[in-house]
């Protein structure tokens, strides 16, 4: 069988490979290094001289650290005035060129804004290049439109990854919902418990009304806690034995934290009360359930699984 010898593979751009490189940033240990590592990859693909990246949460407040970087190694030289100017610029949902010098002597500034539907974060990137050729400048816009959504997706996945590890390291029954109320991850135990009690709809309603504060909710003999975590919503659930119905809501919440192996001091911090109060409430729990030790209480909570 004679195979045709094709001409040597053209070294044309393979955007798929560049996109895969951008997603390497997902592995970063935190959001700031994820942004940084994403930009390092981006500068490999595009001729970027200066960049300013602002991230705002749903309420329009700055999220984490705004990322600022000059690719030629100069220290950040933006004045207060320049930053104010950047923040006042209107959002462009597709990469579009801006008029006027944005950063010192770097030319051809672009801006790009995208809202990440899953975290609700709004990312705006201001990018300047010192390109001379008109063709290359026109090409930059297309490339930015191609790569930046993936950079922002990589940031979302980085947050999801950390939220997931945070939940998984503490409990077996958890789920993560995005800002739109869609389930992104759920543990097998969570899925089993929720389908057994048919409370899927109630949980979705809870998640979509959760703003920022940690909330407890009781459904049947399930105790759910929703909390905001890395711009996602974490839902944790425990099942309490029927005998626990005599406990007050507050006492049940203490049981929730006990099942997460928290100390009295840590429970006090989580529930925003004094350690002494928690101790008193624990004594009351022991009295109501007719038991004598913390270990026994833990065993009772876990025996329902």
């Amino acid at each position: 069988m004679a195979l045709l010898q094709l001409s040597a593979p053209a070294q044309s751009a393979q955007p798929g490979q560049d996109i895969a490189q951008l997603y390497e940033a997902v592995q970063s240990p935190n959001f700031a290094t994820c942004q940084h590592s994403g930009i390092m990859q981006l500068t490999r693909i595009l001729a970027i001289d200066a960049l300013y990246w602002k991230v705002r949460d749903k309420q329009g407040r700055p999220f984490a650290s705004h990322c600022l970087r000059f690719s030629d190694g100069r220290p950040p030289e933006l004045s207060e005035q320049q930053i104010t100017y950047l923040h006042a610029l209107p959002d462009n949902t597709a990469a579009s060129p801006l008029a006027g010098p944005l950063f010192c002597d770097a030319q051809h500034p672009w801006s790009f804004t995208q809202r990440c539907n899953r975290t609700g974060l709004r990312h705006t990137l201001f990018i300047a290049t010192r390109l001379q050729a008109t063709q290359a400048i026109a090409n930059t816009g297309n490339q930015l439109n191609l790569y930046l959504p993936h950079l922002i997706n990589a940031c979302y996945l980085n947050l999801l990854k950390h939220a997931h590890h945070h939940c998984a390291s503490r409990a077996d029954t958890y789920a993560l919902y995005d800002a739109g109320g869609h389930c992104q991850i759920q543990s097998a135990d969570f899925a089993a418990l929720i389908s057994q009690h048919h409370v899927q709809c109630q949980i979705e309603a809870m998640v979509s009304s959760t703003v920022e504060h940690t909330r407890f909710e009781e459904l049947d003999n399930l105790l759910l806690r929703t909390t905001s975590l890395h711009c996602l919503i974490a839902v944790e659930v425990i099942q309490l034995p029927d005998s626990f119905q005599c406990l007050s809501p507050r006492e049940k919440q203490i049981c929730f934290y006990l099942s997460r192996a928290l100390s009295n001091q840590e429970i006090a911090a989580a529930l925003n009360s004094a350690r002494k109060t928690i101790e008193n409430q624990l004594t009351s729990i022991y009295r109501k359930l007719g038991i004598r030790s913390r270990t026994m209480l833990l065993h009772l909570i876990n025996s329902t699984r």
């Binding site: 004679a2 040597a8 593979p9 798929g16 997902v26 390291s169 991850i185 270990t295």
Partner: protein, 319 residues
């Protein structure tokens, strides 16, 4: 262009799956997604670290192919020879997606043994191949999708889409292997190796263990290939092996836990039910001081800091 409108979302989905899917399931789930997107009827995804060795069943993830497919490939000498030739030609097009007709004239292809004895038999009328190498771990991926209906060849756009998606597919597999290392809290040394002993990915604990016990020689485990999915011992260290989609996941056994005595296990079992030392002592008919000693040894062996942790560990351990 409409049918390929959401490629960005699909790539994001590959990586999201990589973060949340266990290593045993990821490859099939992601490959199926890609096959569905490209309206392919069947596919083969080979993952391997060495080029010059013939393909084995355990290298291959096949989608919707009859079981005789890999056996035929081994038995028909002229076919496997031609497959190697095609593969060799594809090495000149790393990262690119090619149709077989890009590599040879159609009449020659239709008269070749590979087509007549093999592709026609399994209805692989149209196929797209992509061969790529991941620079970080030198793992080679051969991703092939096929359509069974002779009337529906792949279009130029299908080819471009596959070429666009393939790096995300293989990149996500790497992310999946890496994230598999972080989900469990305590590791005594974990690594992903291929059947020839090449280390694909490994966590820090494994590297420390390998260094202290000279487990690795020339980037390979010092074992005679091919490795099988059975527990093995290397320089005094026991490894559990789990096989998934062409790769082996090896994990060093926790010596402490295996070193626990029968009596200690009994005590642990009862303690995890929430009983006090005194109650355990009367259940087993031993003194309270003995129970205390047992508990101390158990806490050390399991690496837990308190009795309460032991109770919580019981819940995760029994499933």
């Amino acid at each position: 262009m409409d049918k390929y409108a959401n490629l960005d979302d699909l790539i994001c989905q590959f990586y999201q799956l990589a973060l949340i899917t266990p290593v045993a399931d990821f490859k099939r789930t992601a490959f199926q997604l890609m096959a569905d997107t490209l309206k392919a009827d069947s596919g083969v995804w080979l993952t391997r670290a060495e080029q010059q060795i013939p393909f084995y069943d355990h290298d291959a993830l096949t989608l919707n192919l009859p079981s005789g497919f890999m056996e035929d490939y081994h038995q028909l000498a002229s076919v496997s020879q031609q497959v190697q030739q095609v593969f060799g030609a594809m090495l000149g097009h790393l990262g690119r997606t090619r149709d077989i007709l890009d590599l040879m004239p159609e009449d020659e292809w239709l008269n070749s043994d590979m087509y007549r004895l093999y592709c026609e038999k399994y209805q692989l009328h149209h196929s797209l191949m992509t061969v790529s190498v991941i620079p970080e771990n030198q793992l080679m991926h051969i991703v092939t999708l096929a359509r069974h209906n002779p009337e529906h060849p792949f279009s130029e756009q299908d080819k471009q889409v596959k070429e666009f998606l393939a790096p995300a597919l293989t990149g996500a597999l790497r992310a999946n292997l890496l994230s598999g290392f972080h989900t469990d809290s305590i590791s005594h040394g974990r690594a992903v190796v291929d059947h020839y002993g090449n280390i694909i990915e490994a966590d820090a604990a494994f590297h420390a263990l390998a260094k202290a016990n000279t487990l690795i020689r020339n980037g390979k485990l010092s074992l005679a290939p091919p490795l099988t999915p059975a527990p093995f011992e290397l320089n005094g260290i026991l490894f559990d092996v789990h096989s998934a989609q062409g790769l082996l996941y090896i994990q060093a056994r926790n010596e402490n836990e295996t070193a626990m005595t029968q009596r200690q296990r009994e005590v642990m079992c009862i303690a995890q039910q929430g009983l006090s030392n005194k109650a355990i002592a009367s259940t087993l008919g031993i003194s309270e001081a003995t129970v205390k000693n047992h508990i101390k040894a158990i806490l050390k062996a399991t690496g837990s800091s308190s009795r309460q942790q032991l109770v919580l560990q019981a819940q995760t351990g029994t499933r």
